[in-house]
Every structure is written in C-alpha cells, then in structure tokens.
Amino acid sequence: MATLDDLIHALDDSASASTTTSVRQPVALRRALHLAVEMGMAPSANDATNQSLRAALDVFALTRSLEEHYAAHPAARPALHEVAHALAVMDRSPLAERPDLLERAEREVLAHRPDADADDVLLWALSLLQHQAPAATK
C-alpha cells in the first residue's frame, strides 16, 4: 500500500537516474505538446512533460499532506477567511487590511456555496469592498 511518505521520498530523490518509458498518449495531445514547446512552453517535450508531472505530483502531495495534518491536528486547520487573508497579502490586495470583510465574505459565500475555496471568499470580499467604497465617499 503506497503511503504519503513513500511519495514524498520519491519526489525528493534527486539522485535517481532517468529511464525511458512508454506512455500511451492521444495523438492530438502529443501534437499539442510539440506545438506548445515550439511556442516556448519548455525547452523540449520531455522537459514540458516532466515539469508538468512534477508540479501535479507536488501539489497532490502537498494537498494530501495538509489533509492528513488537519486530520491529526484539527486546530491547525486555518479557516477559509484566514487562507483568503494569506492570499490577499500575497496579492497585495487592500483586503489584506480588511479581515472583517474576509470573515463576512466567508460567512456569506459558505451560505450559498458550501464547497467554496479561499479565492471564492477573496472575490466576494472584493465585491463587498467595491460596494462599500462609493458609500464611503458620499
């Protein structure tokens, strides 16, 4: 049975050799890959494939790690508005200074969409901010 630690170890094994592998690939996808490489996606189709695969595996491992971590430590799970605040900081959004709007947005978004993510909260909060702005200038 594969474990998360096995996956992490494999991803972090920088010393491993490369191998030639045979992958069934739709012809149109392969053509699209070569076209994207010609357009500058990556130096080669091989690089493009490996980079995309590694990115997908890293995100999968990270997402699974977070879920396992939260299952073991429920208090460590940030609320949606806290993740939205982190995104606002990284985006240099004015919402980084408005945690009140982010908290309100979380409540309102979840009432309509229980599976909302932090970007949904951020967008809702931005709308709240935009609608507040004209009133504030009157």
Partner: protein
C-alpha cells in the same frame, strides 16, 4: 512554465511550520494552503522555498523526523552556491544585515515572479531587498 507566486520562508516561518504547538503554526499553514490551492488551479508547482542557510540558522535538519513537515509541505531547499554567495555578500556590503538575511534577500530577488517573504524580523530584510532591486513583499508572521 509561467512564473507563479513564490513563498520564501525565513527562520521563524520555517520553524513554525515544523512545530504544531507553535501559536503561529496555523497562520503559516494558511499561506501554504493558499499556495497549494492556487498552484493546483494553475497547474504549477507550489514554489515554497527555503534557503539552506536559513535551515542552518533555524536548526532544521531534514534527516530528523521532527522536520518532516518541510518535505510534506513541499518546502524546497535552495542551496547557497558560489554565485548566490557572491550576490549575498554584495547585498551585505551595500545594506548590512546578517548573512542569513542576505541569503533570503538574494533568493527573493532571483525568483522570476512575484515573491512574498514570511519573516519574524523586519529589521534588515527590506533594506537588503531594496539593495537587490527586488520588489518582493516582506510579511511579518
């Protein structure tokens, strides 16, 4: 691959990630989770980096089970090679600060896209980043 947002961890942010009992653990996880969500949507890697000099300062040995969170959260080491060392020295000469802060600033300045540095100490980093011509955001955790 398009340049996506990069998160650079300073000493305390890296330490906090490995200590579930730390009062700021949840706060730093919010940044990691934010990066995970965006990276998944944009089909890019999470791009959460730590200079190896920071790990030395923070006493974070990846061979220790107590630091497994760094690997699990896909925090990638960036080693201090000769070129990076020269650039970090140049920054210290121009702006002062500690060797570790200079390594953080050098890394932040060398990343192609937008960068956020999570740090507990705002004393020297802004000046070092300015000396590097970087507009990386320094956020205090």
């Amino acid at each position: 691959m398009p340049a996506d947002h990069t998160l650079v961890l300073d000493n305390e942010a890296a330490q906090v990630l490995t200590r579930v009992d730390h009062p700021k653990h949840r706060l730093v996880l919010a940044y990691v989770e934010g990066r995970a969500g965006r990276a998944g949507r944009r089909r890019v890697g999470p791009s959460i980096l730590v200079p190896t000099a920071v790990r030395v300062e923070a006493v974070l040995d990846r061979r220790s089970s107590s630091t497994a969170a760094l690997g699990r959260m896909r925090v990638r080491d960036v080693a201090l090679d000769a070129e990076r060392a020269d650039r970090a020295v140049e920054l210290r000469v121009r702006a002062g600060g500690s060797a570790v802060d200079a390594c953080v600033a050098e890394l932040a300045a060398s990343e192609p896209g937008p960068v956020t540095v999570l740090t507990a100490d705002l004393t020297d980093l802004p000046a070092l980043l300015a000396a590097a011509g970087s507009d990386a955001l320094v956020h205090r955790v």
